[in-house]
């Protein structure tokens, strides 16, 4: 075979330089050098840097409003569905022209299908932020990182103000604000407001090959009135929640069975682990303080004061762990101090403030219990009441955070019942834990007495609370029988389908910690003639507490993961 003029040359490194003798002529080296040289493009005429006016303007001019919004008006997207063919160029253009990060998209295209075999209908739907009249994201935001421009109505996210709590991602019924984990903030569509201000079209409007997307002036009052008729898009979230300003136009009449192609699919939502821990432990702490107050009536005599100290400290530690956990949910925890800026409108701000005060009071209360001589002052009891009251306000804030989002699984009565029962159940379990710890630490007849009397009180309470809570949680599964695809049926499907392992674990731990072990302990306490087997009680109590806590954590995991979140029509998944 013929020989190359390039033999005996060491492998080429990535930079194109030969590792060996560079003197020798090498075709490979020449080709590699040519390959890395990008100057060839210079020989072509360059587009003039002087042409500042956007060249595409001639195509998008007709898609822009002639004037700025007047009083009572704002900008809104309008989508001509008869022209949306589902190519999804809008999604990629928005990504490209706005410099979004890898994989980040602010537009989505879903698919509606319906009709009959002889007249099937398929309709792609492009959607982005609806720049709502009453933006749920903005109302929810605890740090005022959203602004609704008073003139254009554009709902703008202030990236540097955001601290990444992601509450807006839950609050928006249209799944618009997207959390950017790398930056620790949320980002979203701002209708390319700086382009609009300069009479340039938003990226999606520029890029739609079929001119399906335009910017129109929207009458705000009209939007509110239209929302009453709930005629937004088939199976889209109720427009009354936020008054979206996007208009979907079509000359066709959609068939009555028109639904998103992913309508019947259910998928778990983000579990938000730090929130799971935070919610469960704040409720535990508040409940523990409350049960502690109740218990004071039952425990008298010399053990009362050290008992209160121990219990107060336990409740406080859990409360502080809860608040620490909550900061792990923030993308930028260094800005946690901004959390109360939204006090006037955000339940999250209110909750954070309440729990902040709760933590402060609880510290003072615990300090008072430890430092003040027993019986020196009535202050701790009074202060204990205040701690519980403020804690209850905090729990109410937690309830409202979710209850105001319009998701049935998170409705006010459901969430209230859930959170209160958790507080009661874990508060009781914690109180029992304190009693047992106390009895272990100071093994004397008084403590024995406390243990027995508290056990007769707390164990039945636990059984009652746990049974009630488990029964009530299980009752959700009745929605599996529902014929229509309700939100609660979706939750029930998730709990028995994709999340069934969590559901099983939740009920197993709940029954063990809330019913079986307390029953055994109760039997022990009631049948005891002499001194109790304190080691056995301690082991059982450890199991009880761990199981109760795990059960509530799993319950809260399901609270987040099994919720049916409203969204715009999705595509084939």
């Amino acid at each position: 075979m013929s020989s190359l003029p390039i033999v005996n040359i060491a492998p080429i490194s990535a930079s194109g330089e030969a590792a060996g003798s560079a003197e020798e002529f090498s075709l490979v080296q020449m080709l590699l050098r040519e390959q890395q040289d990008l100057s060839a493009v210079e020989r072509f005429a360059r587009e003039g840097a002087t042409s500042a006016a956007p060249a595409a303007e001639k195509y998008y001019r007709a898609l822009m409003p002639a004037a700025a919004p007047g009083p009572g008006q704002q900008y809104g997207f309008e989508v001509d569905l008869d022209r949306c063919s589902g190519c999804k160029a809008c999604v990629t253009a928005c990504h490209g022209l706005n410099g979004l990060d890898e994989g980040e998209t602010w537009r989505d295209v879903g698919l509606l299908v319906g009709g009959t075999r002889s007249a099937p209908v398929m309709q792609h739907v492009t959607t982005a932020c609806h720049h709502c009249v009453s933006p749920a994201c903005m109302i929810a935001c605890p740090v005022n990182a959203y602004e609704k421009d008073p003139q254009t109505g554009i709902v703008k996210h202030l990236d540097d103000q955001c601290f990444g709590c992601q509450y807006c991602t839950m609050a928006c019924p249209y799944d618009v604000p997207k959390y950017h984990a790398g930056k620790g903030i949320v980002r979203k569509c701002d209708m390319c407001s700086t382009r609009l201000a300069a009479d340039e079209a938003p990226a999606c409007v520029q890029a739609c090959p079929h001119q399906a997307i335009s910017i129109q002036l929207v009458d705000v009052q009209q939007t509110v009135e239209d929302a009453e008729a709930t005629n937004f898009l088939p199976a889209a979230p109720d427009p009354q929640i936020t008054y979206p300003t996007t208009t979907y136009r079509t000359r066709r009449v959609f068939p009555r069975n028109m639904l998103p192609v992913d309508y019947f699919q259910v998928g778990p939502q983000h579990p938000h682990w730090p929130l799971v821990v935070m919610l469960v432990l704040t409720q535990l702490s508040v409940g523990a303080f409350a049960v502690g107050l109740v218990l004071e009536g039952a425990v008298t005599g010399s053990p009362a004061a050290p008992m209160r100290q121990l219990h107060g400290l336990t409740a406080l530690v859990f409360g502080l762990v809860a608040l620490a956990a909550s900061t792990f949910h923030l993308g930028r925890p260094q800005y946690a101090y901004r959390a109360i800026l939204g006090l006037r409108h955000s339940w999250m701000s209110r909750e954070i403030l309440a729990f902040g005060v709760f933590a402060g009071l609880a510290c003072v209360y615990a300090a008072a219990l430890v430092l003040l001589p027993p019986g020196a002052s009535p202050m701790p009891t009074w202060l204990g009441g205040a701690v519980v009251a403020v804690g209850a306000v905090g729990v109410f804030g937690s309830v409202m955070i979710y209850a105001t989002l319009g998701r049935e699984f998170w409705s006010f009565p459901r969430t209230t019942l859930r959170f209160l029962l958790t507080a009661g159940l874990l508060g009781t379990a914690t109180a029992w834990l304190s009693v047992v710890l106390f009895a272990l630490a100071e093994p004397d007849p008084d403590a024995e007495q406390v243990l027995a009397s508290a056990g007769r009180l707390l164990c039945p309470a636990l059984i009652l609370l746990a049974s009630a809570k488990l029964l009530w949680e299980a009752s959700l599964l009745r929605h599996l029988l529902s014929r229509s695809m309700t939100q609660l049926k979706r939750s029930a499907m998730l709990m028995t389908g994709e999340l069934s392992n969590y559901t099983l674990a939740r009920f197993a731990t709940g029954l063990a910690g809330g019913v079986f072990v307390p029953a055994i302990l109760l039997a022990k306490v009631q049948s005891a003639e002499g001194p109790l087997d304190s080691f056995g009680v301690a082991v059982l109590t450890a199991v009880l507490f761990a199981a109760c806590l795990a059960g509530e954590i799993l319950e809260r995991y399901l609270f987040f993961a099994a919720v049916a979140a409203p969204r715009m029509p999705g595509g084939i998944r």
Partner: protein, 737 residues
């Protein structure tokens, strides 16, 4: 969530950060170069036009440059093809270049079976030594190459010339066999040359558009842009078993039984004839063979057509009337026609309708094949596989001499026959006749029909060389030698689009590692083979462009008037023929305005044949008919590129899916979203059930982009074009365990 009071709240200035690093990152700044506002980090210091490297639409993209390297792109506004628009693939064309699985160095399979990196010298030596060894031992027949419609014309020409004239390979074909072969043969027989007659402006000028087997909305979104800009407003007729996006936009959708389109087209021809809705003067003056066609059509009474197509007589009549009433009727077809066991005759049945109604050669008319790949048209003219360079015939001595003269090579080095088509190359491997295969820029281990057999065949090769951008394609993973290629955007050359427009693409990004352009790889291999002398004039793509220009002289595709790349760049692409500025003026030119076709008698021919049944009809074991095709506008073929963009990934379903009629889903107890097993006699795949009323009962649709799809398909070919019939085979459907 409502807070009715004070809903347009302006937060207090206290504590609100309206600016800062995160805000600045996305802040849009006024842009130069007519681009409009762009983020600061994306501001270019120059822009340059380049033609997209995915489909045959041939859109132009303005690449945003910083120091000669691409940092972004946007569609070119004043390009006559795309008018400032692009589909998702085009928008994301740059992001797939930086994928981590790019082939960055030559790889050779070691004794252990693992791929080991080697230098280019060793790669080139190994290529030559192994291939020549096979050639010595088993003869010239024992080597073949499989080329592509995805490379520059200059690269294809160099490959074809190198492999056939330089290395003495007898057989070579391209993946264009899978997409355009049918249109080629149909045009050659009807017009005398493979010449799609239209220009994209015709989409806007027609008052009737008939789409047969073409889901333009999804497969060619930017051509659909042109339809949507038709001001007339047109009647749009769609012939397709599925109610596709295009069918949704149609004024008439004929949901024919799969592969009964030929009967429908003959039936419509018969109706036009019977009603006198034809143009006898055009037929007499410019066509031949009509009398025999008239005779033949007697066999297609309406009742027969109704029975075979499942379309009501009234609907067929409505179509005939629409064609008759249209003043500018254009007919368009894509893979639904081409990938058929009787594709050539179906395409010709469409051509016949255009000829008999005089709907050709005038604005807004034509029998128009929409091509698939970005350079399928370049491949048709210059790949030197089926046709000798310049759309010539290997069998024609005069043609061989012309080519030998222009290229200054010994005429004896030009084979006297075209060699084997793709399917025969695969058969040749199976029969042990072909032992060395060189695969360039295509992925047969995913795309070839009847995949388990195809893979079995590829495994039999003594030596498989794969030249590709990615080392991870299904075929590259089977290779003995992988040659890392630079991709679109990392090299330059020309593509020819569906409307015969020659467009330029440029080098705007560095290739990773030591990847080389296919052109450079061919030059290197020519030297290592020892035939470098023959290609001294083929030093650069642009030098080859000049050679091709000379090869086109006097041919229907003559583009001798194009001076150089700069002229192409300035003009916004140039359609062939382009002999000079006076004879071929204008940027929207169509063929046959003078009624002169390329046959010796100057006339177009009516070509027709009795229809044939589907080779594999549904039966009791496999009661469903499988249709395949493009799934979304964000997916390209075997997904070697489009799967590498994080944004595109979000725009199509990750898992393979099968579209099923609600009727069948109910009967089989298949839930939406459930995993089902689709199986044929040849293999089976798991796919997620998507229940859609747009699919007819007893039919299912699976997109081709998922590798297992071709485990099901049946290796049946059009007898004339040898194009595989991907779109019809019998399958069974059951809930997966």
């Amino acid at each position: 969530m409502r807070e009715p009071d004070n809903i347009t709240r302006v937060p207090s200035a206290f504590g609100v950060a309206r600016s800062g690093p995160l805000t600045r990152e996305l802040r849009l700044m006024p842009g130069a170069f007519g681009l409009g506002r762009l983020p600061e980090k994306a501001q270019p210091d120059a822009t340059t036009r380049t033609v997209c490297g995915y489909c045959s639409t041939g859109c132009s993209l303005d690449v945003h440059l910083k120091g000669n390297a691409a940092i972004g792109l946007s569609p070119t506004v004043d390009y006559p093809v795309n008018l400032g628009m692009a589909c998702p693939k085009g928008w994301e064309a740059l992001s797939v270049l930086t994928a981590p699985d790019r082939a960055t160095t030559p790889l050779l399979r070691a004794e252990s079976g693992r791929m080991a990196p080697i230098g280019w010298e060793q790669a080139a030596e190994t290529f030559a030594a192994r291939m020549k060894g096979i050639q010595r031992e088993h003869g010239a027949e024992a080597l073949a190459f499989l080329s592509t419609g995805q490379m520059a014309t200059e690269e294809m020409a160099l490959l074809g010339a190198l492999a056939k004239f330089g290395m003495g390979m007898r057989h070579g074909d391209g993946n264009t066999r899978q997409c355009m072969a049918t249109a080629v043969v149909a045009y050659q027989e009807a017009f005398g040359f493979d010449a799609p007659p239209y220009t994209y402006e015709d989409f806007e000028l027609s008052d009737v558009l008939v789409f047969v087997g073409s889901n333009v909305c999804i497969a060619h979104p930017i051509m659909w842009e042109r339809v949507m800009r038709n001001p007339h407003p047109p009647q749009i007729v769609v012939v397709d078993p599925r109610a596709t996006e295009t069918a949704m936009a149609a004024t008439q959708h004929l949901s024919v039984r799969p592969k009964s389109d030929l009967s429908l087209l003959y039936g419509v021809a018969r109706l036009l004839l019977d009603r006198g809705w034809i143009r006898p003067e055009y037929i007499a003056e410019y066509t031949s063979g009509f009398d025999a066609f008239r005779e033949f059509l007697n066999a297609f009474p309406l009742e027969r057509v109704e029975a075979e197509t499942g379309i009501a007589a009234a609907e067929i009549e409505r179509l005939a009337r629409t064609i008759y009433r249209g003043r500018r009727v254009s007919f368009w077809w894509t893979m639904g026609v081409n990938q058929s066991h009787q594709g050539v005759r179906t395409a010709q049945a469409i051509i016949n309708l255009a000829l008999m109604t005089g709907n050709i050669g005038r604005p807004g008319t034509g029998a128009n094949s929409i091509t698939g790949q970005c350079n399928a048209m370049g491949s048709r003219l210059f790949s030197n596989t089926t046709n000798l360079l310049g759309g010539r015939a290997f069998e024609n001595e005069a043609h061989r001499r012309e080519v030998a003269d222009i290229l200054d090579i010994d005429e004896g080095r030009i084979p006297r026959d075209k060699g084997w088509s793709y399917d025969r190359i695969m058969e040749g491997i199976l029969a042990g006749k072909i032992r060395g295969l060189w695969v360039i820029c295509t992925n047969p281990a995913h795309s070839w029909i009847n995949q388990s057999q195809a893979r079995d065949i590829l495994e039999r090769l003594e030596f498989l060389v794969v030249q590709d951008m990615y080392a991870t394609t299904e075929t590259a993973q089977m290779a003995d030698l992988v040659l890392p290629a630079a991709g679109w955007g990392e090299k330059e050359g020309t593509f020819i689009n569906s409307e015969r427009r020659i467009g330029l693409h440029k080098k705007v990004a560095p290739a990773p590692g030591v990847a080389l352009s296919d052109f450079a790889i061919f030059r290197l291999l020519a030297e290592s083979w020892g035939c470098g002398e023959m290609f001294r004039k083929w030093q650069s793509p642009e030098a080859v462009f000049q050679l091709l220009s000379r090869l086109s002289a006097g041919r229907p595709c003559d583009f001798g008037g194009i001076e150089d790349y700069q002229m192409l760049d300035r003009s916004g692409g140039i359609q062939w023929p382009y002999r000079d500025a006076t004879r071929d003026a204008g940027s929207q030119r169509r063929l046959f305005g003078d009624g002169r076709y390329y046959h010796a008698d100057g006339k177009a021919r009516f070509v027709f044949e009795e229809t044939r049944a589907i080779p594999e009809s549904p039966n009791t074991r496999y009661p469903f008919l499988l249709l395949t095709g493009r799934g979304s506008a964000s997916q390209w073929h075997t997904q070697t590129r489009t799967a590498k963009s994080a944004v595109l990934q979000k725009l199509y379903p990750r898992d393979p899916y099968v579209e099923i009629s609600p009727v069948d889903a109910a009967e089989l107890g298949i839930e939406r979203g459930q995993w089902v097993r689709v199986s044929s006699q040849r293999g089976s795949m798991q796919a997620k059930a998507v229940v859609l009323p747009t699919v007819q009962p007893k039919q299912v649709f699976v997109p081709m982009h998922y590798a297992p799809t071709n485990l099901l398909t049946d290796a049946v070919f059009d007898p004339y074009s040898r194009q595989p019939a991907y779109k019809a085979c019998a399958v069974n459907l059951e809930v997966a365990d």
